[in-house]
């Protein structure tokens, strides 16, 4: 097994392509006949024998033309990849269990379009695309994010059988790209908010639904809590108002590692914390995250959510 891997390594010369754009040269394009190509070759052989047996001059011509067509098709398949420029693009973080989309930018400086380009990351699904002549196209290579943490883009196989499907040409791309996989959020009700250390509005024992008044909107507030009716009544130059509910809207939620002990092993506990972060963000509750050795101060909004989830994704005990 190791020998095979080393052989493949020396044959295909896998190496990282870094973060810069790169162009496919002839050295990194490989070719083999496809099953359709083998069928074609077998059909040609039978046809040649038939043409010889029946002494068909035009049969000879046809077989030779088809043989030439096969060779020409091979060169065209090669040409379909040759000179293609590939640049790494954006990668959005995903939750574990979702599919990470690694964006690649393919561009071609040839006037003819390049069709039937298939991309597949090692362990991911295949996507197919085409690049118009002299243009570029973004294509997202999918890869399932199974575990939290950094997901490095493995080797991507870029292949094509266009135009005739008799040969497959492929190249291995290894752009340095990674995707942050957040822990899968575990849907569990939020814990009760801790008594606000700074005082603030008394929480009271009321539920989340109890309306408690308005305050001015701050960046990071969920649009769900904007008092749209009030805004519609105003002339528009006043800041938007946020509806505040009793039950700790100003109370700070402390999402603490220690309070998740009942949920089992480390990964489950991290999942529970991730679920709380998501729920608290959706509910518009300020929250702080406390992990052994690491903590995130209380906050709210997309940036805060990202920081929390990042911390959870990368935390190791």
């Amino acid at each position: 097994m190791r020998l095979a891997a080393r052989l493949a390594q020396s044959l295909f010369r896998w190496r990282s392509d870094g973060t810069a754009p790169f162009r496919l040269g002839q050295r990194r394009i490989f070719m083999l006949p496809t099953r359709g190509g083998l069928l074609y070759a077998a059909a040609l052989l039978v046809m040649l024998i038939g043409a010889i047996n029946y002494n068909l001059a035009l049969g000879h011509a046809l077989v030779f033309l088809l043989a030439g067509l096969g060779l020409t098709g091979m060169v065209h398949t090669f040409r379909n990849l040759h000179g293609l420029e590939i640049a790494p693009g954006r990668v959005e973080p995903v939750f574990a269990g979702e599919t990470a989309q690694f964006e690649l930018l393919l561009s071609s400086d040839r006037p003819a379009p390049r069709c039937g380009l298939r991309l597949a990351a090692l362990g991911g699904d295949t996507v197919e695309t085409a690049v118009d002549g002299g243009a570029g196209r973004k294509i997202a290579v999918p890869l399932p994010g199974r575990r939290r943490g950094w997901l490095e883009l493995p080797r991507v196989r870029l292949s094509t059988v266009y135009p005739l499907g008799l040969f497959t040409a492929w190249s291995y791309l290894q752009p340095a790209m990674r995707c942050l996989v957040y822990p899968a959020p575990h849907p569990i009700p939020l814990p009760a908010p801790a008594p606000a250390a700074t005082g603030g509005t008394a929480g009271g024992a009321g539920g989340d639904e109890d309306f408690a008044g308005f305050r001015a909107r701050q960046p990071g507030d969920s649009p769900r809590h904007v008092a749209w009716k009030a805004a519609a009544r105003e002339t528009g130059d006043r800041p938007l108002l946020i509806k505040q509910f009793a039950g700790g809207s100003d109370g700070e939620l402390r999402l603490d590692w220690a309070s998740t002990a009942e949920f089992g092993d480390t990964e489950s506990r991290i999942s529970v914390l991730a679920g709380w972060v998501v729920a608290a963000d959706e509910a518009g509750l300020r929250h702080a995250l406390n992990l052994p050795g690491q903590s995130v101060a209380a906050g709210l909004g997309p940036a805060h959510r990202r920081r929390c989830l990042e911390t959870l994704a990368l935390w190791s005990p």
């Binding site: 030779f64 043989a67 067509l69 996507v127 005739l164």
Partner: protein, 651 residues
């Protein structure tokens, strides 16, 4: 534009596959049984309808039932599933059925491969120019279907896909030429051909009954074409000998089955060499010009001077032979043979025998008898026609005394009966007479319509002498051809009948083209290959040499194609081109520009590494930055700066 890997067949690719399958199947409609074509058309229509309505394709069992029904129909029609006709019918049915099973790309690939295979089977039936022209059309369509299949909708509209297919086909043409010329040709079948491999070939038959040649004459097909080494001899010397018929049973003439001693021919004129290209006639005959003096290696003359070989001819072949037009043949014939050529069926044709016997007593010698017989045919009462009345139990008597209308076989038969009755050994010779010289390429074209029957009489001291009784009744037949000898209402093929000059010129052109096609494309065989290579300076090339040449030729072509594929048009703007030129100058002085280096940084480095060039390069860098990014990009300054840099470096 991104889509999941569609192993399922894309809807837009299906019409291409229909068109490709149709192109591959359509020409077979010409020779298939009608029900098969109708069935295939219905299957096509069904699958096209399903595609149009986006309907569900039939399941496995209905398809299996259809396959079984198709096989049963073919078995019923041809009594077999193998052989040429049944095999092709089976392929057509399977292709049509596969269209009902097109679910994935793999199915579609199978359809296209079947289509390529079907293209080959056309040539089992015809290898003429139209078939050769249909080939690129069908090939382009099949290839376009493949391109559309693998390229998806991004491959573009019909014109673009067809253009791409045509480009591929054109690029593979040189490979075809090299392979066609250099691939070692193997002559003869590798194994036995099926029974029906060469069905439907026409030619002279071994026997002769009234009407058998008249039937053949109505066929305008080519029998053979001849190129003489010298000028074409006069028509009335052009007798191409086929079977000689010596036995007569009162109705049918047959050749003598036994072996006969070899003929002795005394040539009295210089041999005339010629090359004949025989259409396949499924017989062993060469149809050599009388009298043959040299024959191709596998042919020999039998006792009646007919040139034959052992195997029947099932494909178009070229042979070289020579003939002496003035000759003496078997002046000392064996008594057995002479007796055989005097025999008449007892009790038949009494009137004719009585007439001939009356000549025998009255005339001076055999020459007089021959003259009288020819004079009889030359009289007004006799007519030359393709549509003679039916003859009764005594055919020769009926012909000579009642109907008096007949074709060459009637005259030859009646003449031979008269001669035998008069005591002169005589026999019927069948073959072809004359031919048509094509002024365009100088070939003499002999058609089935030139089929003819004449007579031979044996005279003591002279041997067998050819007598053509038809020339007595219709001299035009021998001098001009059958069309001139027959009146306008006769059922001759239109081709033979044409008289308009421009039409005839057109026909000559077409036939010359056809002949060239047959000689050089269809007839390209081992011998032609050796000839052609000899002309290019490789006289004795064996298969190893051919294989080496083949590999070299294909390799060179592949390299050329690869060069085309790798070539990228340099698309530098003039500013970039000038900048690159300056960089090349620097590189020659030992300063390479790193990819990340800006012009200013580079100029700074030049100052350290090559101070002599520094001032000039700084000017170049400044002009470059100005031309490239400045509001008024001035090329002239940059150009001058680069020129200064170059001249400085050289000094």
């Amino acid at each position: 534009m991104t889509r999941p890997p569609a192993e399922t067949l894309e809807r837009g690719a299906t019409p291409w596959l229909f068109a490709a399958a149709l192109a591959a199947v359509l020409p077979h409609a010409a020779h298939q049984p009608a029900w098969l074509s109708v069935a295939a058309a219905l299957l096509f229509a069904w699958s096209a309808g399903l595609w149009w309505r986006d309907g569900r394709l039939p399941g496995r069992w209905p398809l299996a039932a259809l396959v079984a029904a198709g096989c049963a129909g073919i078995l019923f029609e041809f009594r077999t599933l193998f052989g040429r006709d049944a095999g092709v019918a089976l392929l057509v049915v399977l292709t049509a059925l596969k269209l009902l099973e097109m679910r994935s790309r793999r199915d579609a690939t199978v359809v296209v491969t079947l289509g390529y295979f079907l293209l080959l089977t056309h040539f089992l039936y015809a290898q003429d120019i139209p078939a050769g022209l249909w080939l690129p059309v069908a090939l382009c369509l099949l290839t376009a279907a493949l391109i559309r299949l693998h390229g998806g909708s991004a491959a573009g509209g019909p014109r673009r896909v067809l253009g791409q297919a045509a480009l591929l086909c054109v690029q593979s043409l040189p490979f075809m030429l090299v392979l066609f010329v250099l691939f070692p040709r193997v002559s003869g079948p590798l194994w036995g051909l099926p029974q029906d491999a060469h069905a439907g070939l026409t030619g002279l038959s071994e026997t002769m009954t009234p009407g058998s040649i008249a039937d053949l004459v109505q066929n305008g097909e080519l029998a053979f074409s001849v190129r003489f080494d010298g000028a074409i001899p006069p028509r009335d010397k052009l007798y191409w000998r086929g079977p000689v018929l010596e036995h007569y049973d009162g109705r049918t003439w047959r050749p003598h089955p036994g072996r006969q001693p070899a003929p002795r021919v005394e040539a009295r004129s210089a041999p005339l060499g010629y090359e004949t290209t025989l259409e396949p006639h499924r017989q062993t005959l060469l149809l050599a010009l009388d009298a043959p003096t040299a024959l191709p290696p596998d042919f020999a003359v039998d006792g009646t001077l007919t040139a034959k070989r052992l195997q029947p001819l099932v494909e178009r072949r070229r042979f070289r032979a020579a003939a002496s037009l003035d000759y003496r043949y078997n002046a000392d014939e064996s008594p057995v043979s002479l007796r055989r050529n005097l025999a008449l069926p007892p009790g038949r044709n009494p009137q004719a025998r009585a007439l001939a016997e009356s000549w025998r007593t009255g005339e001076n010698g055999p020459d007089g008898v021959i003259r009288r017989a020819l004079a009889l045919f030359g009289s007004r009462d006799f007519a030359y026609t393709l549509q003679p009345p039916l003859l009764g139990e005594q055919p020769i008597d009926d012909f000579l005394f009642t109907t008096r209308r007949g074709f060459c076989e009637h005259y030859a038969a009646a003449f031979v009966v008269l001669m035998r009755a008069a005591g002169i050994p005589a026999r019927v010779v069948t073959g072809y007479q004359g031919g048509e010289a094509n002024p365009v390429d100088g070939y003499l074209v002999v058609r089935q319509s030139d089929a003819h029957a004449w007579a031979e009489v044996w005279l003591a001291g002279e041997g067998w002498r050819r007598v053509d009784p038809t020339s007595a009744v219709a001299p035009e037949r021998v001098e001009t051809g059958v069309a001139a000898a027959l009146s306008a209402g006769e059922p001759l093929p239109a081709l033979v009948r044409v008289r308009a000059d421009w039409l005839r010129t057109l026909r000559y052109r077409w036939e010359a083209l056809n002949n060239a096609w047959n000689q050089h494309v269809i007839g390209y065989d081992e011998r032609r290959q050796r000839e052609l290579l000899g002309r290019f300076g490789f006289p004795d090339i064996d298969w190893r040499g051919l294989a080496a040449a083949l590999g070299a030729g294909c390799g060179l072509l592949l390299l050329a194609l690869l060069g085309w594929a790798l070539y990228r048009r340099p698309r530098h703007e003039p500013v970039q081109a000038l900048w690159r030129k300056a960089l090349r100058q620097l590189a020659r002085s030992g300063v390479d520009c790193a990819p990340w280096e800006t012009p200013v940084a580079l100029a700074r480095r030049v100052r350290e590494r090559a101070p002599a060039l520094a001032a000039d390069f700084e000017a170049v860098a400044a002009a470059y930055l100005r031309a490239r990014y400045g509001p008024d990009g001035d090329l002239a300054i940059l150009r001058a700066a680069v020129a200064r840099l170059s001249s400085r470096r050289r000094t």
